[in-house]
């Protein structure tokens, strides 16, 4: 069992071919995967785990999380039901006002919401403005194509506008909720609202270990980059690498799951999830609920007035 095997000679000498000063040779842009993971990991970590905004003392931050969950969910349903662009725009303005009242930088909030889904939605629904997809009254003729009239229809344009504003408003509402509430409070609120306890337990644990696995992924790629000496990684080896990383990651996840299980059992876990947190409703909460109900009634009312 002796560990005194001899060190190979080459390991003790400097490699002649390698320039120690990084002054010659061409720079290589990082491969697709590398950029992908480091970029994604950084953005993910920021989006998932930054609690800067939740720590501010704005309007939403001061609310009882249960009230916040229910009110914003209610507004989400109302938003889904609206059928007129002006009403949706009004709703959207409301989310901006809420963001401002919660000490969110508006530019940050708008960017966070619009990148990427609503922008993509815009691109995606563009073809639907054409009369070949959405039939109706052509308002912007684009000429003829093999004898057929081609143009943008009123119905198509309105539909595209509807979808984009609704998507943006919906995402704004969800972002307002998650960005103004620390994750632990959000979980506690869901639990207080009678979400199944096991769901909460699994959800909380999944989120907690997401952080760890995310770091494991980044480490794997850093280790890989450290060992990549020359040449771009081609797509095939890239795919093999992804498969191997994903496989190794599953190994990590499984080992960790076993350890966590033992740690839970050692402290008396027998399959029931319990919790300690308690919340208190205040005047501000009641006022917020009332305001949301009023906004919802107004939005639905105006929407119906404008016709269905």
């Amino acid at each position: 069992m002796s560990a005194t095997s001899t060190t190979p000679k080459w390991l003790l000498q400097h490699e002649v071919g390698l320039c120690p000063c990084a002054c010659i040779g061409k720079r290589r842009k990082g491969g697709v995967i590398e950029k992908t993971t480091s970029g994604a990991a950084a953005l993910l970590r920021q989006t998932l785990f930054s609690e800067d905004v939740a720590g501010e003392r704005g309007l939403l931050q001061r609310l009882d999380p249960r009230v916040k969950v229910l009110s914003l969910l209610g507004l989400l349903v109302v938003t889904a039901d609206l059928r007129h662009i002006p009403v949706l725009l009004g709703m959207y303005a409301g989310t901006l006002a809420l963001a401002a009242a919660s000490k969110l930088r508006l530019s940050f909030f708008v960017k966070r919401v619009w990148l990427f889904i609503p922008v993509f939605t815009g691109v995606v629904v563009l073809p639907a403005t054409l009369n070949v997809v959405t039939h109706g009254d052509i308002v912007v003729p684009l000429g003829t194509w093999f004898g057929h009239h081609l143009g943008l229809t009123e119905q198509g344009l309105r539909s595209a506008g509807l979808v984009v504003t609704r998507v943006a408003t919906s995402i704004s509402l969800v972002v307002l909720l998650t960005i103004s509430t620390p994750w632990a409070k959000l979980l506690a609120a869901l639990r207080a609202l009678r979400a199944p306890r096991l769901l909460i337990l699994v959800l909380g644990m999944a989120y907690r270990y997401l952080f760890l696995l995310l770091n494991a992924v980044t480490d794997m790629y850093v280790a890989r980059r450290a060992r990549t000496v020359a040449g771009a990684t081609d797509a095939t080896s890239g795919r093999l690498l992804v498969a191997a990383s994903a496989g190794a990651l599953f190994g990590k996840a499984q080992t960790l799951a076993e350890e966590v299980h033992l740690a839970m059992v050692a402290r008396g876990y027998a399959g029931d999830a319990r919790s300690v947190t308690a919340f208190r409703m205040r005047l501000l909460d009641a006022a917020f609920v009332l305001a949301c109900v009023a906004a919802a009634v107004a939005a639905v009312g105006v929407d119906r007035l404008l016709g269905r």
């Binding site: 989006t47 349903v77 109706g136 994903a246 799951a257």
Partner: protein, 357 residues
């Protein structure tokens, strides 16, 4: 394929949400029964893993990347019911933090990706890997095929959900209130992209991981394959050829392929979107399915569905809708039948159990 809020009517969301309740209940009960309290960390880590798999971007030949859903991979590794729970939770986290897949649309998204996909995919996998040893090279292929078929089944479901919106929900003057594309457009667009690029990625990832685990960490594969012998030598002689059930998977493909082939547009619409600064972020938070529409309008012009002559294609899309619903039903039913059959035959190794420690 992640449908954001705003694309589906509240009614649609409600229907799918309601449909998922018994699925989740069953999944929770089944997983819990089999592994007792051990399942909480296992499923939690499975969910975290599934979330990250969706973030793994795989290089594809045209120089861009695509990501996989990984639901069939999880089903192969942990069992189909554990996959239902794990992928649902991963989708919930995505919906909450990224708007990638909506909160109201969670029912529809989980129906497609956390229920149809693992069930159909796992059924195909079990069928193709019957009487195959744990280390056989046929096993990763079977897993990859399962993933491919599962993904396409899920994409098909989401295409139907989206495609039904304009027919069911429009204003008096014909303005579509939600997703504006009809079945005749949404199905070929989705099918094309998923039969080619996304399906390929899903296949490669799933098969790759299974092959990797065969080489590097066999005990992990045993978690969900307890009674499967390690090598072909230990295998009992085959009693019945598995081809009957393989036909189900192939039939699905046969049904889907011509639909997909009629849509010649660039998959993922990368050309139209390439001027967006997405590559800077490299976060694939963009719903895969939605991207396909970007390059889609070429297709609608050329594909001869009768839209270019200005006539209202009611009949066209009603027929498509009927066909669509029939196929969706067939796919789900087939998946179930396969799983049930397989379960009856192999009661032990089908279930999700951890190795004793």
């Amino acid at each position: 394929m992640h449908i954001p809020d705003g694309y589906l009517s509240p009614e649609t969301c409600g229907v799918f949400g309601a449909a998922m309740v018994p699925v989740w209940t069953t999944a929770g009960r089944r997983v819990r029964k089999i592994v007792k309290n051990r399942y909480v960390p296992l499923v939690a880590l499975g969910a975290a893993y599934s979330f990250l798999v969706m973030m793994f971007n795989v290089p594809i030949p045209d120089g861009t990347t695509a990501h996989a859903v990984g639901a069939v991979l999880i089903a192969v590794l942990l069992g189909p019911w554990a996959a239902v729970v794990a992928v649902s939770i991963a989708l919930l986290i995505q919906a909450l933090f990224f708007g990638d897949g909506g909160v109201l649309a969670l029912g529809a998204n989980t129906f497609n990706m956390a229920f149809v996909m693992p069930m159909v995919g796992y059924g195909v996998y079990r069928t193709l890997s019957r009487n195959v040893s744990l280390t056989s090279p046929r096993r990763p292929i079977a897993a990859g095929m399962g993933a491919y078929v599962g993904l396409n089944a899920a994409a098909f479901c989401s295409a139907v959900e989206l495609g039904l919106q304009p027919a069911l929900f429009h204003s008096a003057n014909g303005t579509p209130l939600y997703s504006p594309f009809h079945l005749a457009q949404s199905i070929p667009a989705m099918a094309f992209a998923h039969l080619t690029v996304a399906g390929g990625v899903e296949f490669a990832l799933t098969a790759g991981v299974v092959a990797y685990l065969q080489r590097a960490n066999l005990p992990l594969l045993r978690i969900n394959h307890r009674a499967v012998p390690d090598t072909d030598a230990e295998l009992a002689p085959p009693n019945r050829p598995p081809w009957r059930w393989a036909l189900v998977g192939l039939a699905t493909l046969v049904v889907l392929t011509p639909v997909g082939l009629r849509a010649p547009g660039g998959a993922f619409g990368e050309d139209a979107l390439s001027d967006l600064p997405l590559h800077k972020y490299h976060l694939d938070a963009v719903p895969t399915g939605l991207r396909h529409y970007a390059g889609f309008w070429h297709n609608a012009l050329f594909n001869g569905y009768g839209f270019d002559n200005g006539s209202h294609p009611t009949i066209g899309y009603l027929v498509s809708a009927l066909v669509g619903i029939a196929v969706i039903g067939a796919v789900v039913f087939a998946g179930f039948t396969v799983v049930r059959r397989v379960r009856r035959g192999h009661d032990v190794d089908d279930d999700f159990e951890t190795a004793p420690t």
